[in-house]
Subunit: 80 residues, 2 copies
């Protein structure tokens, strides 16, 4: 069983309204923050015979189910 973390963020060319809202809030509280982006984080374990097959499944479900590829990008990290 292999465990993955998938980080999903809006594409740079898409207006990230949540990110703008969080940045404005943090600035209004006096914090020096910049370039705030808000997305989703999915953790899952995949049963597969080897890591390559598990990674292929993780990529496939990210592209087809978890992530809206029109407006979002994802990164997959292997967790221990």
């Amino acid at each position: 069983m292999f465990k993955f973390g998938i980080r999903i963020l809006p594409r740079p060319e898409v207006l990230d309204t949540q990110g703008r809202a969080v940045e404005a809030t943090l600035k209004s509280l006096g914090h020096s923050v910049l370039e705030t982006k808000v997305g989703r984080y999915v953790q899952l374990s995949i049963e597969a015979k080897d890591i390559a097959q598990a990674q292929a499944t993780a990529k496939k479900v990210s592209e087809e189910v978890l992530c809206n590829m029109l407006i979002e990008n994802f990164e997959i990290e292997v967790l221990k």
Copy 2:
């Protein structure tokens, strides 16, 4: 300027309805997934004089603004 990624996930003892829904969907599509959790991912850059101060700010804003500590946990990663 220091860049951080903040992974926010529901606490283990809290029912993760999004995670359950995603897991059921992926299983119905024929994928062998387990232990699916869905949370949020926030990326931000912080202006500070050193990394320790920036990390302290990241922890503070995570606890006070980004994360609902009653039902969520967070992890901070330093990005390059």
